[in-house]
Symmetry: C2
Amino acid sequence: MEIEIVKPQEIEKRSFEIIEEELKERGIVLPEKEVPITKRVIHTSADFSYAETMTYSPGAIEQALELIKGGAHIVTDTNMAKAGINKKTLARLGGQVHCFMADEAVAKEAKERGVTRAVVSMETAARLPGPVIFAIGNAPTALIELHEMIEQGAYVPAFIIGVPVGFVNVEAAKELFLDGDVPYIINRGRKGGSNIAAAICNALLYLASNNIRD
Amino acid sequence: MEIEIVKPQEIEKRSFEIIEEELKERGIVLPEKEVPITKRVIHTSADFSYAETMTYSPGAIEQALELIKGGAHIVTDTNMAKAGINKKTLARLGGQVHCFMADEAVAKEAKERGVTRAVVSMETAARLPGPVIFAIGNAPTALIELHEMIEQGAYVPAFIIGVPVGFVNVEAAKELFLDGDVPYIINRGRKGGSNIAAAICNALLYLASNNIRD
Protein backbone atom coordinates (compact mmCIF):
# COMPACT_ATOMS: atom_id res chain seq x y z
CA MET A 1 0.00 0.00 0.00
CA GLU A 2 1.39 3.38 -1.04
CA ILE A 3 1.67 6.48 1.13
CA GLU A 4 -0.50 9.23 -0.41
CA ILE A 5 1.04 12.69 -0.48
CA VAL A 6 -1.52 14.85 1.31
CA LYS A 7 -0.83 18.22 2.92
CA PRO A 8 -1.38 18.18 6.69
CA GLN A 9 -4.34 20.56 6.53
CA GLU A 10 -5.94 18.46 3.77
CA ILE A 11 -5.91 15.17 5.66
CA GLU A 12 -9.11 15.79 7.63
CA LYS A 13 -10.94 17.09 4.55
CA ARG A 14 -9.91 14.04 2.51
CA SER A 15 -10.92 11.74 5.38
CA PHE A 16 -14.41 13.22 5.52
CA GLU A 17 -14.73 12.82 1.72
CA ILE A 18 -13.83 9.14 2.02
CA ILE A 19 -16.37 8.70 4.83
CA GLU A 20 -19.03 10.38 2.68
CA GLU A 21 -18.24 8.13 -0.29
CA GLU A 22 -18.37 4.99 1.81
CA LEU A 23 -21.60 5.96 3.53
CA LYS A 24 -23.07 6.32 0.00
CA GLU A 25 -21.67 2.93 -1.05
CA ARG A 26 -23.31 1.41 2.00
CA GLY A 27 -26.61 3.07 1.10
CA ILE A 28 -26.64 5.01 4.36
CA VAL A 29 -28.33 8.41 4.26
CA LEU A 30 -27.94 10.35 7.51
CA PRO A 31 -30.39 13.08 8.51
CA GLU A 32 -28.74 16.30 7.30
CA LYS A 33 -28.31 17.90 10.71
CA GLU A 34 -26.69 14.80 12.16
CA VAL A 35 -24.13 14.50 9.35
CA PRO A 36 -21.27 16.57 10.86
CA ILE A 37 -21.56 14.82 14.21
CA THR A 38 -22.00 11.21 13.10
CA LYS A 39 -19.28 11.68 10.48
CA ARG A 40 -16.84 12.96 13.08
CA VAL A 41 -17.61 9.93 15.25
CA ILE A 42 -16.81 7.66 12.28
CA HIS A 43 -13.66 9.72 11.65
CA THR A 44 -12.57 9.08 15.24
CA SER A 45 -13.30 5.35 15.24
CA ALA A 46 -13.10 4.24 11.57
CA ASP A 47 -16.24 2.33 12.50
CA PHE A 48 -19.23 2.77 10.21
CA SER A 49 -21.54 0.91 12.59
CA TYR A 50 -21.96 4.22 14.43
CA ALA A 51 -24.03 5.42 11.46
CA GLU A 52 -26.67 2.94 12.56
CA THR A 53 -26.58 3.41 16.32
CA MET A 54 -26.07 7.14 16.88
CA THR A 55 -29.38 8.40 18.24
CA TYR A 56 -30.51 11.99 18.64
CA SER A 57 -33.52 13.24 20.59
CA PRO A 58 -35.77 15.54 18.51
CA GLY A 59 -34.12 18.95 18.16
CA ALA A 60 -31.05 17.71 20.05
CA ILE A 61 -28.46 19.45 17.90
CA GLU A 62 -30.19 22.85 17.98
CA GLN A 63 -30.51 22.57 21.76
CA ALA A 64 -26.87 21.57 22.20
CA LEU A 65 -25.69 24.44 20.00
CA GLU A 66 -27.82 26.92 21.89
CA LEU A 67 -26.35 25.71 25.18
CA ILE A 68 -22.78 25.87 23.87
CA LYS A 69 -23.27 29.34 22.38
CA GLY A 70 -24.69 30.39 25.74
CA GLY A 71 -21.48 29.36 27.50
CA ALA A 72 -22.67 26.07 29.01
CA HIS A 73 -20.01 24.02 30.73
CA ILE A 74 -19.15 20.45 29.80
CA VAL A 75 -18.59 17.72 32.39
CA THR A 76 -16.82 14.54 31.32
CA ASP A 77 -16.39 11.28 33.19
CA THR A 78 -12.74 10.78 32.17
CA ASN A 79 -9.65 12.90 31.87
CA MET A 80 -9.18 11.33 28.44
CA ALA A 81 -12.41 12.86 27.15
CA LYS A 82 -11.46 16.16 28.79
CA ALA A 83 -8.06 16.02 27.07
CA GLY A 84 -9.71 15.41 23.69
CA ILE A 85 -12.11 18.35 23.78
CA ASN A 86 -11.02 21.54 21.99
CA LYS A 87 -10.81 23.72 25.09
CA LYS A 88 -9.73 26.87 23.27
CA THR A 89 -12.83 26.86 21.07
CA LEU A 90 -14.99 26.08 24.10
CA ALA A 91 -13.40 28.94 26.08
CA ARG A 92 -14.00 31.37 23.22
CA LEU A 93 -17.69 30.46 23.48
CA GLY A 94 -17.61 31.03 27.25
CA GLY A 95 -17.55 27.43 28.44
CA GLN A 96 -15.18 25.23 30.40
CA VAL A 97 -14.68 21.50 30.66
CA HIS A 98 -14.58 19.73 34.02
CA CYS A 99 -13.79 16.22 35.12
CA PHE A 100 -14.11 15.39 38.81
CA MET A 101 -13.20 11.70 38.56
CA ALA A 102 -9.56 12.05 39.62
CA ASP A 103 -10.25 14.46 42.50
CA GLU A 104 -8.90 13.16 45.80
CA ALA A 105 -12.08 14.12 47.64
CA VAL A 106 -14.23 12.27 45.11
CA ALA A 107 -12.14 9.10 45.42
CA LYS A 108 -12.27 9.26 49.21
CA GLU A 109 -16.04 9.77 49.39
CA ALA A 110 -16.68 7.00 46.82
CA LYS A 111 -14.61 4.56 48.85
CA GLU A 112 -16.36 5.46 52.09
CA ARG A 113 -19.82 5.07 50.55
CA GLY A 114 -18.97 1.98 48.46
CA VAL A 115 -20.11 3.64 45.24
CA THR A 116 -18.21 4.39 42.04
CA ARG A 117 -16.30 7.63 41.68
CA ALA A 118 -18.66 8.35 38.78
CA VAL A 119 -21.59 8.65 41.20
CA VAL A 120 -19.81 11.17 43.42
CA SER A 121 -18.52 13.03 40.34
CA MET A 122 -22.04 13.47 38.98
CA GLU A 123 -23.25 14.79 42.34
CA THR A 124 -20.35 17.25 42.30
CA ALA A 125 -21.17 18.30 38.74
CA ALA A 126 -24.81 18.90 39.67
CA ARG A 127 -23.65 21.63 42.07
CA LEU A 128 -22.04 23.66 39.26
CA PRO A 129 -23.88 26.90 38.58
CA GLY A 130 -25.58 27.18 35.18
CA PRO A 131 -26.54 24.53 32.64
CA VAL A 132 -24.24 21.55 32.17
CA ILE A 133 -23.73 19.28 29.18
CA PHE A 134 -22.69 15.84 30.42
CA ALA A 135 -20.34 13.98 28.08
CA ILE A 136 -20.19 10.43 29.40
CA GLY A 137 -17.87 8.15 27.44
CA ASN A 138 -16.89 5.61 30.04
CA ALA A 139 -19.01 5.03 33.13
CA PRO A 140 -22.55 3.69 32.82
CA THR A 141 -22.84 4.39 36.56
CA ALA A 142 -22.56 8.10 35.73
CA LEU A 143 -25.64 7.83 33.52
CA ILE A 144 -27.47 5.71 36.09
CA GLU A 145 -26.71 8.28 38.80
CA LEU A 146 -27.89 11.18 36.62
CA HIS A 147 -31.10 9.28 35.87
CA GLU A 148 -31.66 8.68 39.58
CA MET A 149 -31.17 12.37 40.37
CA ILE A 150 -33.76 13.24 37.70
CA GLU A 151 -36.22 10.66 39.05
CA GLN A 152 -35.82 12.03 42.55
CA GLY A 153 -36.39 15.57 41.29
CA ALA A 154 -32.96 16.52 42.63
CA TYR A 155 -31.40 17.72 39.39
CA VAL A 156 -32.02 18.05 35.65
CA PRO A 157 -28.99 17.93 33.34
CA ALA A 158 -29.26 20.40 30.44
CA PHE A 159 -28.01 17.87 27.91
CA ILE A 160 -26.65 14.32 27.86
CA ILE A 161 -24.02 12.98 25.51
CA GLY A 162 -24.35 9.32 26.50
CA VAL A 163 -21.71 7.16 24.88
CA PRO A 164 -20.18 4.91 27.55
CA VAL A 165 -18.54 1.79 26.17
CA GLY A 166 -18.63 -1.67 27.64
CA PHE A 167 -20.29 -4.86 28.60
CA VAL A 168 -21.92 -4.38 32.00
CA ASN A 169 -24.96 -2.10 32.27
CA VAL A 170 -23.84 0.06 29.36
CA GLU A 171 -26.78 -0.63 27.05
CA ALA A 172 -29.29 -0.49 29.88
CA ALA A 173 -27.89 2.82 31.17
CA LYS A 174 -28.25 4.41 27.75
CA GLU A 175 -31.82 3.15 27.39
CA LEU A 176 -32.82 4.98 30.58
CA PHE A 177 -32.66 8.26 28.66
CA LEU A 178 -34.15 7.36 25.28
CA ASP A 179 -37.72 8.24 26.23
CA GLY A 180 -36.94 10.89 28.83
CA ASP A 181 -37.24 14.66 28.75
CA VAL A 182 -33.55 15.51 28.75
CA PRO A 183 -32.21 16.21 25.24
CA TYR A 184 -29.52 13.75 24.25
CA ILE A 185 -27.07 12.35 21.77
CA ILE A 186 -26.68 8.68 22.62
CA ASN A 187 -24.92 5.83 20.87
CA ARG A 188 -27.15 2.82 21.42
CA GLY A 189 -25.47 -0.50 22.11
CA ARG A 190 -22.15 -1.32 23.69
CA LYS A 191 -19.93 0.99 21.70
CA GLY A 192 -18.71 4.47 22.55
CA GLY A 193 -15.77 5.73 24.58
CA SER A 194 -13.94 8.80 25.77
CA ASN A 195 -12.73 9.44 22.23
CA ILE A 196 -16.32 9.29 20.94
CA ALA A 197 -17.55 11.65 23.69
CA ALA A 198 -14.79 14.12 22.79
CA ALA A 199 -15.51 13.80 19.05
CA ILE A 200 -19.19 14.64 19.59
CA CYS A 201 -18.31 17.65 21.76
CA ASN A 202 -15.82 18.88 19.17
CA ALA A 203 -18.29 18.45 16.29
CA LEU A 204 -20.78 20.57 18.26
CA LEU A 205 -18.11 23.14 19.12
CA TYR A 206 -17.09 23.49 15.47
CA LEU A 207 -20.74 23.90 14.45
CA ALA A 208 -21.32 26.47 17.21
CA SER A 209 -18.27 28.48 16.13
CA ASN A 210 -18.89 28.12 12.37
CA ASN A 211 -15.86 25.90 12.06
CA ILE A 212 -13.49 28.58 13.33
CA ARG A 213 -11.10 26.55 15.48
CA ASP A 214 -8.60 27.95 17.90
CA MET B 1 -33.03 -4.07 29.59
CA GLU B 2 -32.40 -4.36 33.31
CA ILE B 3 -29.58 -2.76 35.28
CA GLU B 4 -27.43 -5.52 36.79
CA ILE B 5 -26.33 -5.01 40.37
CA VAL B 6 -22.54 -5.30 40.21
CA LYS B 7 -20.09 -3.93 42.75
CA PRO B 8 -17.80 -1.24 41.28
CA GLN B 9 -14.67 -3.36 41.67
CA GLU B 10 -16.42 -6.32 40.01
CA ILE B 11 -17.41 -4.49 36.82
CA GLU B 12 -14.08 -4.92 35.06
CA LYS B 13 -13.80 -8.57 36.07
CA ARG B 14 -17.32 -9.31 34.80
CA SER B 15 -16.59 -7.42 31.57
CA PHE B 16 -13.53 -9.53 30.88
CA GLU B 17 -15.55 -12.70 31.54
CA ILE B 18 -18.15 -11.59 28.99
CA ILE B 19 -15.40 -10.85 26.45
CA GLU B 20 -13.93 -14.30 27.05
CA GLU B 21 -17.31 -15.99 26.60
CA GLU B 22 -18.02 -14.12 23.39
CA LEU B 23 -14.58 -14.80 21.93
CA LYS B 24 -15.33 -18.49 22.52
CA GLU B 25 -18.76 -18.19 20.90
CA ARG B 26 -17.09 -16.62 17.87
CA GLY B 27 -14.57 -19.46 17.75
CA ILE B 28 -11.67 -17.06 18.29
CA VAL B 29 -8.66 -18.45 20.14
CA LEU B 30 -6.03 -15.81 20.88
CA PRO B 31 -2.38 -16.74 21.47
CA GLU B 32 -2.06 -16.99 25.26
CA LYS B 33 0.44 -14.16 25.71
CA GLU B 34 -1.66 -11.76 23.65
CA VAL B 35 -4.85 -12.43 25.61
CA PRO B 36 -4.55 -9.70 28.29
CA ILE B 37 -3.67 -7.06 25.72
CA THR B 38 -6.15 -7.87 22.97
CA LYS B 39 -8.89 -8.38 25.58
CA ARG B 40 -8.21 -4.95 27.07
CA VAL B 41 -8.45 -3.41 23.60
CA ILE B 42 -11.84 -5.10 23.13
CA HIS B 43 -12.86 -3.89 26.60
CA THR B 44 -12.01 -0.33 25.57
CA SER B 45 -13.82 -0.43 22.22
CA ALA B 46 -16.52 -3.12 22.56
CA ASP B 47 -15.29 -4.09 19.11
CA PHE B 48 -14.42 -7.75 18.59
CA SER B 49 -12.88 -7.07 15.17
CA TYR B 50 -9.69 -6.17 17.02
CA ALA B 51 -9.27 -9.87 17.82
CA GLU B 52 -8.58 -10.37 14.12
CA THR B 53 -6.39 -7.36 13.37
CA MET B 54 -4.15 -6.95 16.44
CA THR B 55 -0.67 -7.97 15.28
CA TYR B 56 2.37 -8.65 17.43
CA SER B 57 5.96 -9.01 16.25
CA PRO B 58 7.61 -12.23 17.53
CA GLY B 59 8.45 -11.80 21.22
CA ALA B 60 6.85 -8.35 21.26
CA ILE B 61 5.22 -8.68 24.65
CA GLU B 62 8.34 -9.96 26.43
CA GLN B 63 10.36 -7.12 24.89
CA ALA B 64 7.80 -4.49 25.86
CA LEU B 65 7.64 -5.80 29.43
CA GLU B 66 11.42 -5.79 29.73
CA LEU B 67 11.52 -2.19 28.53
CA ILE B 68 8.79 -1.10 30.93
CA LYS B 69 10.37 -2.90 33.88
CA GLY B 70 13.64 -1.17 32.94
CA GLY B 71 12.01 2.24 33.28
CA ALA B 72 11.52 3.02 29.58
CA HIS B 73 9.59 6.18 28.82
CA ILE B 74 6.44 6.27 26.71
CA VAL B 75 5.82 8.91 24.05
CA THR B 76 2.28 9.40 22.76
CA ASP B 77 1.04 11.46 19.83
CA THR B 78 -1.99 12.87 21.64
CA ASN B 79 -2.74 14.29 25.05
CA MET B 80 -5.77 11.99 25.10
CA ALA B 81 -3.57 8.89 25.01
CA LYS B 82 -1.31 10.47 27.63
CA ALA B 83 -4.35 11.15 29.84
CA GLY B 84 -5.48 7.54 29.50
CA ILE B 85 -2.23 5.90 30.57
CA ASN B 86 -1.91 4.85 34.21
CA LYS B 87 0.90 7.23 35.11
CA LYS B 88 1.18 6.13 38.74
CA THR B 89 1.89 2.54 37.77
CA LEU B 90 4.33 3.71 35.10
CA ALA B 91 6.12 5.99 37.59
CA ARG B 92 6.44 3.14 40.08
CA LEU B 93 8.27 1.20 37.35
CA GLY B 94 10.54 4.20 36.70
CA GLY B 95 8.95 5.52 33.50
CA GLN B 96 7.23 8.68 32.42
CA VAL B 97 4.81 9.53 29.63
CA HIS B 98 5.46 12.43 27.27
CA CYS B 99 3.45 14.10 24.54
CA PHE B 100 5.07 16.90 22.59
CA MET B 101 2.17 17.60 20.21
CA ALA B 102 0.74 20.58 22.08
CA ASP B 103 4.12 22.24 22.76
CA GLU B 104 4.24 25.79 21.41
CA ALA B 105 7.71 25.26 19.97
CA VAL B 106 6.57 22.12 18.14
CA ALA B 107 3.56 23.90 16.61
CA LYS B 108 5.74 26.83 15.51
CA GLU B 109 8.40 24.66 13.89
CA ALA B 110 5.80 22.49 12.14
CA LYS B 111 4.14 25.56 10.65
CA GLU B 112 7.44 26.99 9.45
CA ARG B 113 8.48 23.73 7.82
CA GLY B 114 5.02 22.88 6.45
CA VAL B 115 5.01 19.47 8.16
CA THR B 116 2.62 18.01 10.71
CA ARG B 117 3.22 18.56 14.40
CA ALA B 118 3.57 14.79 14.62
CA VAL B 119 6.78 14.92 12.59
CA VAL B 120 8.38 17.53 14.85
CA SER B 121 7.12 15.68 17.93
CA MET B 122 8.80 12.45 16.86
CA GLU B 123 12.09 14.28 16.25
CA THR B 124 11.80 15.78 19.73
CA ALA B 125 11.05 12.36 21.24
CA ALA B 126 14.09 10.86 19.49
CA ARG B 127 16.28 13.21 21.54
CA LEU B 128 15.06 11.76 24.87
CA PRO B 129 17.76 9.83 26.70
CA GLY B 130 17.17 6.09 27.07
CA PRO B 131 14.83 3.73 25.23
CA VAL B 132 11.41 5.01 24.20
CA ILE B 133 8.17 3.15 23.57
CA PHE B 134 6.13 5.06 21.00
CA ALA B 135 2.37 4.79 21.46
CA ILE B 136 0.83 6.24 18.31
CA GLY B 137 -2.97 6.30 18.32
CA ASN B 138 -3.73 9.14 16.02
CA ALA B 139 -1.18 10.40 13.51
CA PRO B 140 0.01 8.15 10.68
CA THR B 141 2.56 10.89 9.94
CA ALA B 142 4.18 10.07 13.29
CA LEU B 143 4.72 6.48 12.14
CA ILE B 144 5.91 7.61 8.70
CA GLU B 145 8.41 9.99 10.32
CA LEU B 146 9.72 7.28 12.67
CA HIS B 147 10.13 4.94 9.71
CA GLU B 148 12.07 7.60 7.80
CA MET B 149 14.39 8.19 10.77
CA ILE B 150 15.07 4.44 10.90
CA GLU B 151 15.71 4.26 7.16
CA GLN B 152 18.15 7.16 7.38
CA GLY B 153 19.94 5.51 10.29
CA ALA B 154 19.15 8.54 12.42
CA TYR B 155 17.22 6.79 15.19
CA VAL B 156 15.84 3.43 16.28
CA PRO B 157 12.72 3.42 18.48
CA ALA B 158 12.85 0.73 21.17
CA PHE B 159 9.24 -0.31 20.58
CA ILE B 160 6.26 0.80 18.49
CA ILE B 161 2.64 0.62 19.52
CA GLY B 162 1.15 1.53 16.14
CA VAL B 163 -2.59 2.03 16.30
CA PRO B 164 -3.45 5.27 14.49
CA VAL B 165 -7.05 5.44 13.30
CA GLY B 166 -8.31 6.88 10.07
CA PHE B 167 -8.72 6.92 6.36
CA VAL B 168 -5.66 8.60 4.85
CA ASN B 169 -2.30 6.78 4.98
CA VAL B 170 -3.21 4.95 8.18
CA GLU B 171 -3.06 1.42 6.80
CA ALA B 172 0.04 2.15 4.72
CA ALA B 173 1.85 3.72 7.68
CA LYS B 174 1.22 0.62 9.80
CA GLU B 175 2.44 -1.68 7.04
CA LEU B 176 5.82 0.09 7.00
CA PHE B 177 6.67 -1.64 10.28
CA LEU B 178 5.27 -5.13 9.81
CA ASP B 179 8.44 -6.61 8.36
CA GLY B 180 10.92 -4.31 10.08
CA ASP B 181 13.35 -4.90 12.93
CA VAL B 182 11.62 -2.75 15.55
CA PRO B 183 9.39 -4.79 17.87
CA TYR B 184 5.76 -3.74 17.63
CA ILE B 185 2.15 -4.12 18.56
CA ILE B 186 0.14 -2.88 15.58
CA ASN B 187 -3.54 -2.97 14.78
CA ARG B 188 -3.72 -3.60 11.06
CA GLY B 189 -6.37 -1.74 9.08
CA ARG B 190 -8.03 1.59 9.70
CA LYS B 191 -9.03 1.13 13.31
CA GLY B 192 -7.24 2.23 16.44
CA GLY B 193 -7.19 5.50 18.37
CA SER B 194 -5.81 7.25 21.41
CA ASN B 195 -8.01 5.10 23.62
CA ILE B 196 -6.62 1.95 22.02
CA ALA B 197 -3.02 3.17 22.41
CA ALA B 198 -3.67 3.88 26.10
CA ALA B 199 -5.38 0.51 26.61
CA ILE B 200 -2.38 -1.35 25.18
CA CYS B 201 0.03 0.64 27.37
CA ASN B 202 -2.09 -0.05 30.44
CA ALA B 203 -2.37 -3.77 29.68
CA LEU B 204 1.44 -3.90 29.46
CA LEU B 205 1.81 -1.84 32.65
CA TYR B 206 -0.50 -4.17 34.56
CA LEU B 207 1.42 -7.21 33.29
CA ALA B 208 4.75 -5.58 34.18
CA SER B 209 3.55 -4.80 37.71
CA ASN B 210 1.76 -8.13 38.25
CA ASN B 211 -1.58 -6.35 38.17
CA ILE B 212 -0.74 -4.18 41.17
CA ARG B 213 -2.28 -0.86 40.18
CA ASP B 214 -1.69 2.45 41.84
